[in-house]
């Protein structure tokens, strides 16, 4: 599938933002949220800011962005629509939470209650995003049980890393955030490796033979394509990344998204003197890693329509 940068930025940044907001809600629920207005303001701005930039970026690839509001109407059947609705609904607890946390006042006493609502909304929104892809049967690398846990884990991981960095910058006690971030990195890494392991081995259920129904006669090979140059289908659905590039990019993604941030967290714990730069750099590197991972998520996915163009889906093919 064509890796459109608007969609890569959208899924990555909204993941970061909802991850961050989700953790803040949990800290509030546990009564462990530090009441520090400046930290509160920056954390909320970063969280809501990433979510908002992500959502705006998702409208960039639309043919008619001015009609984007229409996408909220079909939540009964469409995961894209549900994602839109969930993301807008999430602004309500997020803004109440932010106001209560930054300004205090009457809302402050409610943080323990608004927090879990915010976390729940953030999780639901990330699940909806993941289901946009997970529900597409013609794309086997997306239509499997690994996709939703991967999106959730990567959101939780990037959010936790960012929160750990912010807490360090503002010198606020956020008990256990470094450990939570470390655990989230390990869980996300395991899930990503599991995704690759499983999708690399999945046997293709559709073939040029089943696509044309000519398998009873024999093996099907494209003799003549319908058109001489690439059309929309091949540009959008037929994107291919060379295997050796994909392998290199996977290594880069694993290093930047997981291993380097984890090493930085451990180093920060080992050498408290350098904890500040290490914990601040970790989420930034992870972000580059997750952008690479997300690029691969698109570029490596194959669509069954390419079977009509004589290609096969098996990763080996």
């Amino acid at each position: 599938m064509h890796p459109a940068s608007s969609v890569i930025v959208f899924t990555t940044l909204s993941g970061v933002g909802y991850g961050l907001l989700g953790w803040l809600g949990l800290y509030a629920a546990a009564g462990l949220l530090p009441m520090q207005p400046l930290f509160a303001l920056v954390a909320m701005l970063v969280g809501l800011g990433s979510v908002t930039v992500g959502l705006l970026s998702s409208t960039l690839h639309l043919g008619h962005p001015e009609r984007a509001w229409r996408a909220l109407s079909q939540w009964r059947t469409s995961w894209l629509s549900r994602e839109g609705v969930a993301s807008i609904v999430t602004y309500v607890p997020a803004l109440l939470f932010g106001i209560g946390w930054v300004i205090g006042g009457a809302l402050r006493d409610w943080l323990m209650l608004i927090g879990p609502v915010l976390t729940l909304c953030a999780i639901v929104t990330v699940i909806c995003t993941a289901y946009i892809y997970r529900s597409l049967k013609p794309i086997p690398r997306w239509s499997n049980g690994w996709v939703v846990p991967n999106y959730l884990a990567l959101a939780a991981m990037t959010g936790a890393l960012l929160l750990a960095g912010l807490a360090r910058v503002f010198v606020v006690p956020l008990s256990g955030i470094d450990i939570l971030a470390g655990v989230a990195v390990i869980v996300a890494l395991v899930l990503k490796l599991g995704y690759w392991w499983s999708t690399d081995r999945a046997k293709a259920i559709s073939t040029p033979e089943s696509a044309t129904g000519l398998g009873a006669i024999g093996a099907v090979r494209l003799l003549e394509a319908p058109h001489t140059s690439e059309n929309y289908l091949l540009k959008e659905m037929g994107y291919r990344v060379a295997r050796k590039h994909a392998t290199k990019l996977r290594i880069i993604a694993v290093m930047l998204a997981f291993l380097v941030p984890l090493a930085l967290l451990i180093a920060a714990w080992q050498w408290p003197m350098l904890a500040l730069p290490f914990t601040v750099v970790a989420p930034l590197i992870a972000l580059v890693g997750v952008l690479t991972e997300r690029w691969l998520f698109f570029a490596e996915a194959r669509h069954v329509v390419t079977l009509y163009y004589g290609r096969r889906l098996d990763p080996a093919a």
Partner: protein, 244 residues
């Protein structure tokens, strides 16, 4: 509304395509383009049509395959929207632009609602939806809805443009929801099948398989030819030299 219609008429309008007959002339694709670039989904934009790298919206694409095996052959294969009974292209649409008609099962796009998110084209296993970069909306086969119900046309012409033009009559149009219709009978007789049934989209359009190849020529009752006598002389020498 992207929910599939809850109450449905019995009609399932669609095409039956005979892979035994199709000669891969692309006439159906050309007439489809011709009609529809002036029809309800008009225009079917072409980008750089006179360049080395033309790209444009077509509703019908003709592939040619080589099928290997005992009964090897070339098969020409027209591919267009199958007007599925379980079209995820419709249910994924966030705006309600994509819909399936309750009365006849035709799947359409309302271009005034479409935001051009392209998700429906990702959801179609058959590559039946092509995005119009110029108009910013999704386009697809309408089963020539502006012909089949068009009372300004002669009754015989009220069939999709592809069916009307096929010089070999490899394409048939009719109601596949009616078990007694000609198309339904044809599907029964010739064991018409669904493309990629494993996807679960339940296509309405059916394909008729190529008939088994005839291995021996039929006897026509003519006597076998006599072998030619060997030519002698100079001509015979040249003949022997050349065929040696």
């Amino acid at each position: 509304m992207t929910s599939l219609p809850h109450t449905r008429g019995t009609a399932r309008l669609g095409l039956v395509i005979d892979l035994d007959i199709c000669v891969g002339c692309h006439a159906c694709a050309v007439n489809c383009k011709e009609w529809n670039t002036g029809g309800v989904a008009a225009p079917l934009t072409d980008l750089k049509p006179y360049d080395a790298d033309p790209d444009g919206v077509w509703f019908n694409r003709i592939h040619s395959y080589e099928v290997n095996g005992e009964d090897a052959r070339t098969v020409h294969f027209p591919r267009s929207c199958l007007h599925c009974e379980e079209p995820a292209c419709v249910t994924v649409c966030p705006t309600g632009a994509s819909y399936k008609r309750a009365e006849d099962g035709i799947v359409l796009v309302n271009e005034d609602l479409c935001i051009g998110c392209k998700l429906c084209s990702w959801a179609c296993p058959y590559g039946a939806r092509e995005y119009d970069l110029d108009a910013g909306v999704m386009k697809k086969c309408t089963l020539c809805i502006d012909r089949i119900y068009n009372e300004h046309l002669d009754e015989a012409a009220r069939v999709p443009a592809c069916v009307a033009t096929c010089p070999t009559s490899a394409r048939h149009f009719g109601d596949l929801g009616d078990p007694d219709s000609k198309v339904s009978q044809l599907v029964r007789e010739r064991e018409g099948y669904d493309l990629m049934p494993e996807m679960g989209y339940k296509p309405t359009n059916k394909y008729l398989p190529p008939r088994p190849r005839q291995r021996d020529a039929a006897s026509i009752g003519a006597p076998a030819l006599e072998p030619l006598p060997q030519a002698g002389g100079l001509l015979g020498l040249i003949d022997r030299l050349l065929s040696g």
